[in-house]
Structure formats: C-alpha cells, structure tokens
C-alpha cells in the first residue's frame, strides 16, 4: 500500500484524492453527511454499505455527474492538483472526466449506447479524448479489446452491445474506461449483474489493469467478502455517514464499529450456519437522528449518540466514528 493515511489531516505524500466533509443535500434529504476519505496513488479503496448509504452518490459526485441544480454540495473533493472537484465548471470537467477519472457502471448494458457498435463507441472516445486519427484509434481500440480479454476483437468491434453477453459488455466498459489511462477508476458495483464466475473474471481484470497502470481505484461494493479480496482499504458508510475506515484486513477481521460488525455478521459464506440480523432497516431521511445516524439501530448506542455526532477519530491505522465501539480483540 502506498498511501496509508490514518487521518484526514495527517496525510502523507499528497494522496491522489482527498474528500473532506462532503455533504450533499437533495431537497430536504441529506444524502451525504460530512464524508471524509483519502485515496493514495496506486491504492484500491472499497466503499461498502447498504443501499441508501450514499456509496454510488460519492462515485457520481467524483465523476461530476451530479448537477448543481439537483443537489447542494458542500465540503471539498481534492483530486491531485485540482483543489476542489465540486467547484469545477463543465469545461474543467471535460479535461478530467474520461481522461483522468473514468468510471465503470453497474449495468453495462444500459451504459453502452445501443445504437452504435462497440467499435464505434470505443473509437469515438479515443478520437475525442486523445485526438487520435481514425486508423490509429481503431488500432488502439483493437489493442484495448485484446487487453481486456476479448477473443476475436476484430469481429467484436463491429458488434452492437445487445449482441454481447453481460460479461462481454462489462469488459468493453472496462476497455472504454481505461482507454485514456486514467489515474482514478471508479467502479460502481461492476459485477452485481453478473454470474459469480464472470464476477471473478471482471474483478481480476480490473485489478490487473489498474496495477499495470499504477492507477488508483474506488470500488463501490455491497459484498464485504469481495471487498476484502479486491481492496487495500475500505470505508464503511451508513446513511451517508462514514462509520469506519481503514485497511480492509484490519477492519474486516476485527470490526470495531457496531455497524461494521452488523454488516459482517450478515455476510453469508459457504458453511455459515447461523445468521443473527437485527430487525428493521435504514430509517427514512425524515426520521434520521441528528447525531450518529446508526444510533436508532445500534446495540451499543448511548444516550448522547442520538443528539451528538461522534467524530471520525483515528485509532491505530483506522478511523472510527463511534462513542462506544466494540473492544479491541
């Protein structure tokens, strides 16, 4: 791991990405509530949590896909030398999006344009972003498809997305995302629509390509086991708040935050014989407590948790936002 940062303030050797107090409100709902995280160069980070945790929202915000009219954004997102991604205008974004920050979407079938061939889409990205000529772009496209493990790339270039299987579509998404050698790849649940055997192929593909390029990657995942397999560090989110963050092994082997513990206790592995999930689910935004949003379901909740927000405090290598964490084991 290159940029292990145990604290947002105490950052070593300028991380690639540093989000500080990111808050996003849509109407009356505060979807992200003071999210802070850092990502070093060459590092892989997993955002995990249940639906409504704001994982995808963070990825979309990092991609500049959330318009100022739809949501109010506060806080800072520093990316390399760009001081705040949120303050970029569309022109500034066009220099970053697709070139230095790229994204692999959950549903490749919906993200690829059904009216154009795979080759057409790939070539147009290469020509627009890298200014390549027609022939050059085509050659590069062939090489990219080959790189993401597509047999007979020549034939695939002239295929339409619907003629390809889900796994193949996702490979093409990866090829498009990697076309300009981005420094940061965002992968939003890249495999949740795929079979497990294909999932393993795609995750491995993304990891290999990322490492070969020395790029960083933020995965949005709901599968903790998969996160432990693919990422150096994880950030556990609940209803738009960071609960616990740090090295994935440490956190998943010994979760300290009650929510991380809950999540992990619900993970079903082969041979799991008992599950003991708490009843209930994430409250709606109108019923969110002012303090720790997990307080309503937390087995460790104290009186102050509901009213007072626990700070994201460093503890060893990790950060925990909890007044009453589980004891170290």
């Amino acid at each position: 791991m290159t940029g292990v940062s145990s604290d947002v303030v105490r950052v070593d050797a300028a991380p690639l990405l540093a989000i500080d107090g990111l808050t996003l409100e849509r109407g009356q709902s505060r979807i992200l509530d003071g999210v802070s995280l850092t990502l070093g160069r060459g590092e892989t980070l997993a955002l995990v949590g249940e639906s409504g945790a704001g994982k995808s929202t963070i990825a979309f915000a990092l991609m500049g896909l959330i318009g100022r009219t739809e949501a109010r954004i506060a806080g800072k997102m520093r990316f390399d030398e760009v001081d705040d991604l949120a303050s970029l205008n569309e022109r500034g974004w066009s220099r970053l999006r697709g070139r230095r920050i790229a994204m692999v979407f959950q549903d490749a079938g919906a993200a690829l344009d059904p009216c154009y061939t795979v080759g057409g889409q790939l070539v147009s990205v290469l020509r627009r972003q890298l200014g390549l000529g027609k022939r050059e772009a085509r050659e590069r496209a062939l090489a990219l498809l080959e790189g993401v493990g597509i047999n007979d790339p020549e034939a695939r270039l002239s295929a339409y997305p619907h003629e390809l299987s889900g796994g193949m579509q996702q490979r093409i998404m990866v090829a498009i995302a990697l076309a300009c050698n981005p420094e940061l790849l965002l992968a939003d649940e890249p495999t949740s629509a795929l079979d497990v055997t294909i999932q393993a192929q795609i995750i491995r593909l993304i990891l290999t390509e990322i490492r070969a390029r020395g790029a960083s990657c933020v995965f949005v995942l709901h599968d903790l086991a998969l996160a432990s397999q693919s990422c150096d560090r994880i950030v556990v989110l609940y209803a738009g708040q960071v609960m616990e963050a740090g090295p994935s092994r440490g956190i998943l082997e010994n979760p300290r935050h009650p929510y991380t513990r809950l999540l992990k206790s619900c993970v079903l592995e082969i041979g799991t014989t008992t599950l003991d999930p708490p009843e209930g689910g994430v409250p709606s935004y109108d019923d969110m407590p002012a303090g720790c949003r997990f307080a309503t379901r937390c087995p460790n909740a104290l009186q102050r948790c509901v009213a007072e927000r626990p700070p994201l405090a460093p503890e060893g290598e990790r950060l925990i936002a909890c007044f009453n964490p589980e004891p170290r084991s």
Binding site: S165, V196, T197, K264, S265, C266
Partner: protein, 375 residues
C-alpha cells in the same frame, strides 16, 4: 388423493410438526423429473430471405427427485436452464420429452384437473414487486388466494391476513397499503405471505433473496428457514449464491447448460465438489481475504452450438481426451451423491487446483462471521 389429506393436516397456523414425512402415507416423491427434455425451435436468418430452423435444448435429460420435506437448491449460471426447469415443474411448460411427475402423475394433468396442484405448489418470484398487482392493497393480495381456494369465510379474512402478515414479520397496519409504498424487503415478505396463504406443501422460490441488502437478506433467510421448519414445507430454491444454498437447503443440484451435473447433500458437495464445474463455482464465490482466482475461463457456450461430448469440456480445467467423445450421464458416486463426469475430482486434484484455499475437510473452516455469533 393423498395430498389432499396431507394438506388438510397442515393448518396455516401450525407451529408444530417438523415431521411431515410421517404424515405422508407413502414414499412417493412430490416431484419427479425423468429425463426431462425441453426444446425450443428458433428460426434465424441465414441470408437474404433465407431462414434456418434450429432446435435448442434448454433442458436435456434432467433427472431430479424432490422428496416430501426436502429442501433443494438449484444452482447454476444464467443460461443453465434453471428457469425452464422451474416452468416445467410448475406446469407452465410441457416437457418435449421425458416425464415431469407430481405425486406420480404428470404435472400438466394435475394442473389441469383441479385447483389442488395450484394450492399445494406456491411460487415466490424473484421480482416480487412485479408479481403483485399494483392496484390491490396488501390485504386484497393476501385475501385473493384465501378466498380463491375457499380456505376461510369472508368474515375471517381480516384475521387470517393479519396472522399471515405476523407470520412473515410484518405489522398488521401494512394491510391497507399498496405494494408501491413498501420497501424491497417488505414486498418480498408480502409475496411470501401470499404464497403461504394457500397452505402449500411445496414452496418454489426463484432467487427470492437476491438483490437485497445483506441485513434484509439475512432476515428473509431466517424467515424462510423458520417457515420451513414450522410448516414442514418442501423447499425448492433457485439461487446463484452458494452461501444461500448452503444456509437454506440440505440438498443441492448444480446445473450447467440444461443438465444437472452434480447433486447431493449441500455440505458434502460444497466441501468436496466432484464435478469440475461445481468446484469452479465454489471457487468463484467471494471469500474473506482469499486471493481472487479466475476459476473458469470464457463464458457459457450457446445451447445452439453445444460442444461435442461433455458440454463442460470447453471450459474444464481437468479435461481429458475421452471427455470429448461422448456425454457423461449423472451417475452415483457416493451415498446420496451423483455426478455427470467421466473423471470425478479427487482430493488431490481439488487442492492442486485451488491452492491457497483452506482445506475443505471436516470440520469445516470456521465461518468468520458466524463463529463469533454462535460462540
């Protein structure tokens, strides 16, 4: 009919009776598939104004026995024929060849004869929201099977709906709501309550817990487990998640390209898979801190161009020359276990293929999450 008497003995509110097997007067399996084949004919253009008719076998020689009180997981990738198998079992599709029997009678005849089959075999769809009429309240949705099968009088409906909702862990005031106003987890519970309303013997579930948050999924799995135990249900669970299969089902049937390639007790099959495809599935399932392996190359071939010989031969890591000669049939290898492979895997091969995986020999690798809880 025997199953009428059986059904009569299983009241909806039964909290006892895990010994449904004892109630069955005979050992006739509930469902029996005998070399079921389902072919579809498709026409595809081969040139200008030229068409070619081709036969596609979605199911090919499927043998499966569902005993009373069993719980079977049907596992396989998309395109393996799980959904077609389901339609055959439900009597929605007629097998092209072979027999699909329910209590010794062809499923289609049983469905056509009277409502008994429809009452005893209940279905939970993967897309629970779409399986519920959006213009009916939860109460009307659950009351529909109650009234249709004449299970209670008009004046009892309210109480029965309330009892069924309570049974699936939902508050009674939800009865007045429409499905659109419920969360994903609640909608699945309503679908389960509706399936239970007809007091079924068999519950068939198609990916009933997929696409949910882990905590909701865990709640539903525990609910299904409890219901199975309390009501003595026979469970047929289609899933792609081996964890779900091992948590909920005692038996497992692994499908590949329209065939069942391995069956047996879930624990035994998953801890020591005999078919290379089962092993690949097992290895592909995410596992804490294990390095990600790429267990299976390529993708499932099209059923239009089946490979010669064993249909898994194109992707098999252990393929040998004679595998491509002719197709292996599902044959018993151990007690309760069958595999359709010419060269079933041995311990040495499994560990050689999957270095870095903890030994699957019993006692099983302690489940990281469960161990802490059960301790």
């Amino acid at each position: 009919m025997s199953e009428t008497s059986l059904a009569g003995q299983v009241p909806a509110a039964a909290t006892h009776g895990a010994e449904t097997g004892a109630m069955a007067p005979h050992d006739l399996p509930l469902f029996e598939l005998l070399d079921v084949e389902k072919r579809f004919t498709i026409t595809r253009p081969t040139g200008f104004l030229k068409r070619e008719k081709r036969s596609l076998a979605a199911l090919d020689g499927v043998r499966l026995t569902v005993r009373r009180g069993a719980s079977i997981a049907l596992v396989g990738e998309s395109g393996s024929g799980k959904s077609t198998l389901l339609r055959v079992l439900l009597g929605l599709a007629e097998p092209s060849d072979g027999k699909a029997l329910y209590c010794g009678q062809p499923v289609n005849e049983m469905r056509a004869r009277d409502r008994d089959f429809a009452r005893s075999v209940a279905m939970i769809y993967q897309d629970a929201r779409a399986s519920l009429d959006p213009r009916m309240t939860v109460k009307a949705l659950i009351a529909e099977p109650l009234m249709h099968f004449g299970l209670c009088g008009r004046d009892e409906v309210d109480d029965r709906v309330r009892a069924l909702l309570a049974r699936v862990g939902l508050p009674g005031d939800i009865a007045a709501r429409y499905p659109a106003a419920l969360s994903g987890g609640q909608v699945r519970r309503v679908a389960i309550a509706r399936a239970l309303a007809s007091e079924p013997t068999v519950l068939i579930a198609d990916e009933a817990v997929s696409g949910l948050d882990v905590s909701t999924q865990a709640q539903l799995l525990n609910l299904l487990r409890r219901l199975k135990r309390e009501m003595g249900l026979t469970l047929l669970f289609i899933t792609h998640d081996l964890g779900v299969a091992s948590y909920l089902c005692e038996e497992i049937a692994i499908m590949y390209l329209g065939r069942i390639v391995e069956t047996g007790p879930t624990g035994a099959v998953l801890s020591a898979p005999a078919h290379p495809y089962s092993l690949a599935l097992r290895r592909a399932a995410p596992e804490f801190f294990a390095p990600i392996t790429d267990p299976l190359e390529g993708e499932i071939p099209s059923p239009l161009d089946l490979p010669k010989g064993c249909r898994f031969a194109t992707r098999c890591a252990f393929v040998e020359e004679d595998c491509r000669a002719d197709e292996p049939v599902l044959a018993p290898i151990a007690r309760g276990r069958s595999v359709a492979c010419r060269h079933p895997l041995h311990e040495a091969e499994r560990s050689a293929f999957s270095s870095g995986v903890p030994s699957p020999a019993p006692p099983d690798r302690p489940a990281t999450g469960g161990a802490e809880l059960s301790a």
